[in-house]
């Protein structure tokens, strides 16, 4: 039998508790379809970045990706500047949207590839490499856009991507879930996923087993960059405009989400489903606090408290021992009956 994943249990319970508390205090508005959709459209951009951070962490070697939001902004800005020159958003809305999305994804993948090459081939520590590329990407975005915001416009397909719903679920959230599902499957069922985790767990053993470590790192960081590019597309679709300094606070929030999801900063362990739930929990919590109208400093405090309690729960294995106590208490009763 698989061991019970304590983290998954807590996160799921938290989602329910927050939804319940929100519904209770807002007299139902919090649970209204409109607000649920509104919250769901806010999750993907930061959630995708958090998955990127998780992949980098899982690869071990002190892995982290600090360049996520900078790359997402660069992807939106660069693709926006180029595509708006060649395709008209009003005359060819579909072509425009596809070209913009493709452009942003390509920029994202290239940026990630650059990270991967620097880390894998030149052997630079990820935190230094991505700190450097973060500044590089931000700088490029400033130069490309002249420091101003770039108007992408909102042709129908673009607007739908950022704000539209299908069967009541926002497109952007569906995309986020689909990406999470695919990556989750890749990590669990493919040789690449297994090698990624094993390399993170024990780099030396991976070396002796003949794993193509450089390729694994390069692919991992390229994937992270690709996710940043996708995040850039969603940001542009939501906000009509993109700018180089959007979401400066996302850098730390993405790491917070990953750590809260139980991803091991030393590498080798992390579950995508937990990252998705963790992103959802943070969104529910901050929307709830906005609903009550509490100061935003309280939100930072609440996030910090949440993270610390998660670390404590993980450190002392509270959920696991609780589950063990429950099962051992139940079995004698079963034999009696």
């Amino acid at each position: 039998m698989r061991k019970l994943d304590g983290r998954l249990v807590i996160l799921s319970v938290l989602v329910l508790v927050l939804l319940g508390a929100g519904g209770l205090v807002s007299g139902g508005t919090y649970l209204s379809l409109f607000n649920l959709q509104s919250m769901a459209t806010q999750v993907p951009e930061i959630g995708l970045l958090a998955i990127g951070v998780m992949l980098a962490m899982c690869a071990g070697n002190g892995g982290i990706d600090l360049s996520g939001i900078a790359l997402a902004n660069l992807a939106g800005v660069a693709s926006g500047v180029v595509v708006t020159q060649f395709v008209s958003a009003t005359e060819a809305p579909w072509l425009f949207t596809l070209a913009f999305a493709a452009g942003a994804l390509v920029v994202g993948a290239l940026g990630g590839l650059l990270n991967g090459i620097i880390i894998a081939r030149l052997g630079i520590t990820p935190i230094l490499c991505t700190l450097g590329t973060q500044m590089l990407f931000t700088g490029l975005a400033v130069v490309v856009s002249d420091g101003r915001s770039v108007t992408i416009g909102s042709p129908d397909p673009m607007y739908e991507l950022g704000n539209g719903v299908i069967l009541g679920v926002p497109y952007s959230f569906l995309i986020f879930l689909a990406v999470a599902l695919v990556l989750g499957a890749v990590l669990r069922f493919t040789p690449f996923g297994m090698r990624l985790m094993l390399t993170g767990a024990n780099a030396k053993a991976a070396d002796f087993s003949g794993f193509p470590k450089k390729t694994i790192f390069t692919v991992t960081y390229t994937l992270s960059g690709l996710l940043a590019g996708l995040s850039g597309v969603i940001i542009a679709a939501r906000n009509v405009n993109v700018k180089w300094d959007y979401g400066t606070s996302y850098l730390l929030i993405a790491i917070l989400i990953a750590v809260m999801a139980g991803v091991r900063p030393e590498g080798g362990y992390g579950r995508i489903v937990c990252v998705v739930l963790s992103a959802v929990v943070l969104q529910l919590l901050s929307s709830l606090l906005n609903f009550i109208g509490l100061s935003n400093f309280v939100r930072d405090f609440a996030w910090g408290a949440l993270l610390l309690s998660f670390l404590a729960v993980g450190r002392f294995g509270l959920i696991e021992s609780l589950a063990a106590a429950v099962t051992s208490a139940r079995s004698p009763r079963a034999s009696k009956g």
Binding site: Y30, N239, T248, S249, G293, N296, R299
Partner: protein
């Protein structure tokens, strides 16, 4: 422990939910950043307006960090919550265009401030006309200089549109005084008091006979004021520029700063809320109307860049050594 925490939160939520339900309408002011003096001062205005309208639920919120994404999230949650009217001071007008449009489509009233390029807003409230402000600063400077002598100007950066408008209007105004000679204009300060101090020292060395400075960014008066004071020229060289009363107080007292110009965020906050209330009640805004807020007694109404209107008050304040104590923030 966790349980008690949750219970506490729930109790707090219930209490706030109950008050919100009683109100006739809700107006929430969303500022760029909370916890800085400028927006703390604005909050006093919002609170004052709340006292005057006890039947409405009026409050101010803002992100804890200066990030347009954080402000966007707050605005989006407030729209989803069903807030009737939002009075927003955008961190970055472009980023909020999308959510403002969706909010207005949904029937939320949107009023903005310091965003005269915002396309999707119903009314943008500006404290004053930029040209008039620049001219007024210069008129005060000319009065101090006795209408003659060398003078120069500082701007935050050459790309800062409002600053260039202010000094441009100042130069126009100075033409009335043939004795005033503009030297080395448009020094860039980058709103950095230390850098401005160094630059002002250079100018004082290069032009020992200089008589006046007109500055634009909020910290410029501090840098130039320090240079003037250290050169022992306080009261002999005139300095008029944008600044805040509290930080400028000691230089105003010593005479290193002649006068500071600004607009009072307290009044701007009240004006935004007053406009939002009128729109909520379905009242029409007219040119020359009185918002019932000091400095907004006879406002100018123009067409904005988008569908909305641009409402310009006469809320500029010029304070000197004798009057700055009325505005301590």
């Amino acid at each position: 422990m966790k349980k008690t925490l949750k219970l506490g939160v729930v109790a707090a939520l219930l209490a706030s939910g109950a008050t919100a339900a009683l109100a006739e309408g809700t107006i929430t002011t969303v500022v760029k950043i909370s916890g800085i003096p400028w927006f703390d001062r604005m909050e006093t205005g919002v609170e004052l307006f709340a006292e005057q309208n006890p039947d409405m639920s009026i409050s101010q919120v803002g992100p804890a960090s200066a990030d347009s994404a954080q402000q966007l999230q707050i605005v989006q949650d407030l729209v989803a919550k069903g807030t009737d009217a939002l009075a927003v001071v955008p961190m970055d007008p472009a980023i909020l265009e999308g959510i403002f449009k969706r909010a207005m489509d949904r029937g939320t009233i949107i009023v903005t401030h310091e965003a005269d390029n915002q396309m999707n807003t119903m009314v943008d409230v500006e404290a004053f006309d930029n040209a008039e402000y620049g001219a007024a600063l210069n008129a005060r400077l000319a009065e101090c200089m006795g209408g003659e002598g060398k003078w120069t100007t500082f701007v935050g950066s050459l790309g800062s549109r409002t600053h260039m408008q202010w000094v441009g209007a100042g130069e126009e105004n100075a033409k009335q005084h043939p004795g005033m000679e503009l030297v080395d204009p448009n020094n860039e300060s980058f709103d950095d008091a230390n850098g401005t101090y160094e630059k002002a020292k250079e100018i004082l060395r290069k032009h020992p006979d200089i008589k006046g400075f007109q500055t634009s960014a909020g910290n410029d008066v501090l840098g130039v004021g320090r240079a003037i004071e250290e050169a022992g020229l306080a009261g002999k060289v005139c300095l008029v520029g944008t600044g805040l009363p509290n930080p400028s107080a000691s230089y105003l007292d010593s005479g290193a700063i002649t006068a500071i110009g600004f607009w009072d965020p307290q009044k701007a906050g009240m004006a935004m809320n007053a406009v939002a209330k009128m729109l909520l009640e379905g009242k029409e805004l007219t040119d020359g109307m009185d918002l019932g807020v000091e400095g907004y007694n006879s406002v100018t109404l123009k067409d904005g860049p988008g569908e909305g209107k641009l409402l310009i008050g006469n809320g500029m304040v010029l304070a000197d050594k004798d009057t700055y104590k009325d505005y301590l923030f």
